[in-house]
C-alpha cells in the first residue's frame, strides 16, 4: 500500500527539507565538523536518544574495523577493507530504513551490516577465507557482498520490480561507491528503475577515491546531478554527518514508499584507510588531504554535539567499556572461525543433482582415501 506520511511536526520538517532538496541540490548538513548545529539542523531538531543510538553503532563499527585490521596484520585475516570514516553514511542510512527493507550492499558495508544484526564472525568469515559470504540474507534482509562493482544495483532493481508488482511499500536499498558509478550496470539500473518507477533507494558513498583514482579524474558531473537526468529524486548530503544522513534517507525512503519512484543519495565521505589492507594510500594521497578529512570525522563531531546537548561523560565511558568488550569478542570470534573443507563445496554449486559435480566429488574422495591408505601402509 502507498502510505501518505503522517502530518506530524517532524513530517512537516522533512517536507520543508525535501522542498529545498528539489529546488537545489546543495549538500545537506545538520552538524558542522566542530559539533555545532547548522540552521538546517536547528530547524530539523535533534532526537538525542536517536543520536546516542547512532553514535553507539558508529563506535562499535569503528572498533570492528580497528580490530579486524589488527587481525589482518597478525595473519588472522587474509584481507580487510575498512569502512573507517564512512560510519555515518552507513549507519545513518540503514537506521532510517525498516528492518524489512531489503538491502544490497557492495563490499565495504560492515557498519551497515552490524546494524542489521550480522555478527562480526559472519563478516570476517569472508576475509579469513572461510566462506565467500558469511550470513543468510533471508534473515538479515542484507544480501551477500558484491565484489564486481555495481552489479548489485541491478539485483536491487529486479528485486524492486517484484516489490512494485506486489504493491508492497518496501524500499529496496542498494549501496555503491563513486568508483562504481562509472559502471554500465549502475547506469542501466538508474535508467531502468526510473523508467519503471521502482522503489529503489540508491545510496552512493562518495569516499573521493576509487582505489587511487580521485573523483575529479573519474567524472565531470557529480552523481547526484547525473541521477536527476535519469529521472530520479536526487539528494546530496554530508556523509560524515550521521544526523543529516539519517534525515535525508528518511525523506527519500518516505517518498519512495509513497510511490514516487527511485531516489539517489550521494553522501560525501572519505575512506580514512586504504582501499584494502593491501593498499598503500600514501602513494596517491597527500597528508593534507587526509588531515582535511580527519577534521570532518563523523564520530568526533557527533560526540561534540552530544556533549553540548548534555550527554554525560559516564555514558561515553560505558560505551567505551562496551566497545572494549566487543573488541575482545571480535578477536576470539575471528580466531574461532575454522577452515572450510573442499569436500563440502561440491554440493553448493547446483540446487539439483549434477552428474559432473557428483563424479568429481567421488573422484576427489577416492583420491583422498588413496592418499590416506598410502599413509597407513
Amino acid at each position: 500500500m502507498h502510505m501518505a506520511p503522517a502530518e506530524t511536526p517532524a513530517a512537516a520538517a522533512w517536507g520543508r527539507l525535501l522542498d529545498r532538496q528539489v529546488e537545489d541540490l546543495a549538500m545537506v548538513q545538520f552538524v558542522t565538523p566542530d559539533g555545532a548545529l547548522t540552521p538546517a539542523g536547528e530547524e530539523y531538531g535533534v532526537d538525542v536518544d536517536l543520536a546516542q543510538r547512532l553514535h553507539r553503532d558508529m563506535v562499535l563499527a569503528r572498533r570492528l574495523d580497528t580490530e579486524a585490521l589488527a587481525l589482518q596484520r597478525q595473519g588472522e585475516l587474509n584481507l580487510w577493507l575498512m569502512s573507517w570514516g564512512q560510519e555515518a553514511a552507513q549507519v545513518g542510512s540503514i537506521r532510517a530504513l525498516r528492518q524489512t527493507d531489503m538491502v544490497f550492499p557492495s563490499y565495504r558495508e560492515h557498519a551497515a551490516a552490524l546494524c542489521r544484526g550480522i555478527a562480526p564472525a559472519e563478516l570476517m568469515a569472508q576475509w579469513r577465507g572461510i566462506r565467500h559470504a558469511g550470513w543468510d540474507p533471508s534473515v538479515s534482509r542484507f544480501h551477500i557482498y558484491s565484489l564486481v562493482l555495481g552489479t548489485q544495483t541491478l539485483h536491487a532493481t529486479g528485486y524492486a520490480m517484484g516489490a512494485a508488482m506486489e504493491r508492497s511499500d518496501e524500499v529496496v536499498a542498494v549501496y555503491f561507491g563513486d568508483g562504481s558509478s562509472s559502471q554500465g550496470d549502475v547506469n542501466e539500473a538508474l535508467n531502468w528503475s526510473a523508467a519503471g518507477t521502482l522503489p529503489v533507494l540508491f545510496f552512493c558513498q562518495n569516499n573521493q577515491w576509487a582505489i587511487s583514482t580521485p573523483t575529479t579524474t573519474q567524472m565531470r558531473t557529480p552523481l547526484h546531478r547525473r541521477a536527476t537526468g535519469f529521472g530520479l529524486d536526487a539528494y546530496h548530503v554530508d556523509g560524515n554527518d550521521v544526523l543529516a544522513v539519517h534525515a535525508v534517507t528518511d525523506v527519500a525512503a518516505r517518498r519512495i514508499r509513497a510511490g514516487s519512484g527511485p531516489g539517489l543519495i550521494e553522501a560525501q565521505t572519505y575512506r580514512f584507510g586504504g582501499h584494502s589492507s593491501s593498499d598503500d594510500p600514501q602513494r596517491y594521497r597527500t597528508q593534507a588531504d587526509f588531515d582535511l578529512w580527519m577534521g570532518r570525522d563523523p564520530l568526533v563531531r557527533l560526540e561534540r554535539l552530544l556533549r553540548t546537548l548534555g550527554v554525560e561523560d559516564d555514558w561515553f565511558k560505558e560505551l567505551q567499556e562496551e566497545s572494549d568488550a566487543f573488541a575482545v569478542d571480535v578477536r576470539s570470534a575471528c580466531k574461532a572461525l575454522a577452515g572450510s573443507d573442499l569436500c563440502d563445496l561440491f554440493g553448493n554449486v547446483y540446487a539439483e543433482a549434477h552428474p559432473v559435480l557428483a563424479g568429481e566429488r567421488e573422484q576427489h574422495m577416492a583420491f583422498l582415501a588413496a592418499l590416506e591408505s598410502q599413509g597407513e601402509a
Binding site: H132, P137, L154, G158
Partner: protein, 323 residues
C-alpha cells in the same frame, strides 16, 4: 498430440509454464506487444499483462541482473536475449553473478532463471546475429546449458528449464524456428537426457540444436552408400548425457561430433576427451569433430560454406570409417 513449429512450441511451453505458476515472468527486448523479433512470445503480453511479460530497456546486462533480483524474491524469470551475439553485455551478470551466487552463498540462495537465446546461423543475417556461443556458458560452473532441436523438445524442455531451481541457458535454433513437428502431451526425456534419434552399427553422429537435422540428413545419405549411422541429439550440453553417447559408441567404435560452433575448445573437444577416457579400448577411430572454422562468423553470402553441412559430415564419417 499436436503439430507446431518449433517457435510456436516454445510459445506454447511458455504459456503453459506461466499458466501453471504465477511466479513465472518473461522479460526481454520487444517481447511484449510485438511478441519478440521471432514472435516466440506472441500473445503472452495480451494474456498475462505487462507485469509478467516485460518489455525491457535495451540493456542485456540489466535483463539478466534484474532477473537475478526477481529470482532472489522468489520469481522464476525467463529472459529473452534477442540474438546470440547480444548476450555478451550480460556476460558478467551471467558468469559472475547468476552462475556463482548459489555457491557464493554456501548453497543458501537459489536462482531459477532461464535465459533463452536464439542461436546459430543459416538465416542470412548480418554480423553478430549467427553465433554459437554455448562453450562459454558450458565452461561456467553453476549454469545448466540445453539446446532444443525440434518442436516436441522445445515445448517440453522450456518447461523443464523453468522448473529447474538452477539457472539454465536455453538455446533455440533460430533457423529451425519455422520447422513443424508433432508435440506429445508428456515429455519422453528428462531435461538433461540425450535422445537417440536413429540406431546404427557403423558410426555415431552426436549433434545438438540446429545441426541435428544436418546429422539426420547425413545418416540417411550414408545409408544409401550402405553405412549404418546412429544419430544422438545431445539436447543437454551442461551436463552432458555421456552414458547415452558411451553406450552407442561401444557398439560402433566410431563417433563424429557435429556443431555449428568452432571446433577449437568447443563442445566436440569435451565429448571427444570424455568418450576417449571412458571408451578407449572400444574406439576404432579417433573421435572426429565437424564444426565451424576458428574465425568470426563470416558474411552471409559464404555462410553455406562455413556451416557444417551434409557433405562435411559425410566426409568425416568417411574419414572415421577409413581410419
Amino acid at each position: 498430440m499436436t503439430t507446431l513449429t518449433l517457435g510456436a512450441a516454445i510459445n506454447a511451453g511458455l504459456r503453459q509454464a506461466m499458466t501453471d505458476d504465477d511466479r513465472v515472468l518473461v522479460l526481454g527486448e520487444d517481447v511484449g506487444v510485438l511478441g519478440g523479433v521471432f514472435r516466440v512470445t506472441d500473445g503472452l503480453h495480451a494474456e498475462f499483462g505487462p507485469d509478467r511479460v516485460v518489455d525491457t530497456p535495451l540493456a542485456e546486462s540489466a535483463i539478466v541482473g534484474t532477473a537475478i533480483g526477481l529470482a532472489l524474491r522468489g520469481y522464476r524469470p525467463v529472459c529473452e536475449i534477442q540474438f546470440d551475439g547480444f548476450v555478451y553485455p550480460a556476460f558478467d551478470q551471467i558468469v559472475s553473478q547468476l552462475a556463482k551466487m548459489r555457491a557464493r552463498s554456501g548453497g543458501l540462495l537459489k536462482l531459477p532463471v532461464v535465459i533463452r537465446i536464439p542461436v546459430g546461423g543459416g538465416i542470412g543475417a548480418v554480423e553478430h546475429h549467427s553465433e554459437s556461443n554455448e562453450a562459454y556458458f558450458a565452461h561456467t560452473a553453476g549454469l545448466r546449458v540445453v539446446s532444443c532441436s525440434n518442436a516436441d523438445d522445445a515445448f517440453h524442455m522450456i518447461q523443464q528449464a523453468i522448473h529447474s531451481d538452477d539457472p539454465v541457458i536455453f538455446y533455440e535454433p533460430k533457423r529451425r524456428y519455422w520447422e513443424k513437428g508433432t508435440v506429445a502431451n508428456e515429455p519422453s526425456l528428462g531435461l538433461h537426457q540425450a535422445g537417440v534419434l536413429r540406431r546404427g552399427t557403423d558410426c555415431v553422429l552426436a549433434a545438438h540444436g540446429p545441426t541435428v537435422a544436418t546429422a539426420l540428413a547425413a545418416a540417411t545419405a550414408a545409408e544409401e552408400d550402405g553405412y549404418s549411422v546412429a544419430v544422438v541429439d545431445l539436447r543437454s550440453i551442461s551436463p552432458l548425457d555421456l552414458s547415452t553417447v558411451r553406450d552407442l559408441v561401444r557398439t560402433t567404435g566410431r563417433l563424429v561430433v557435429v556443431h555449428e560452433a568452432s571446433t577449437f575448445f568447443g563442445l566436440g573437444a569435451e565429448v571427444a576427451a570424455a568418450v576417449t577416457e571412458q571408451c578407449f579400448f572400444e574406439l576404432k577411430a579417433p573421435v572426429l569433430r565437424v564444426g565451424a572454422y576458428n574465425m568470426p562468423y563470416p558474411p552471409a553470402q559464404v555462410e553455406d560454406h562455413f556451416l557444417p553441412d551434409v557433405d562435411r559430415v559425410l566426409d568425416a564419417i568417411d574419414r572415421s570409417l577409413d581410419y
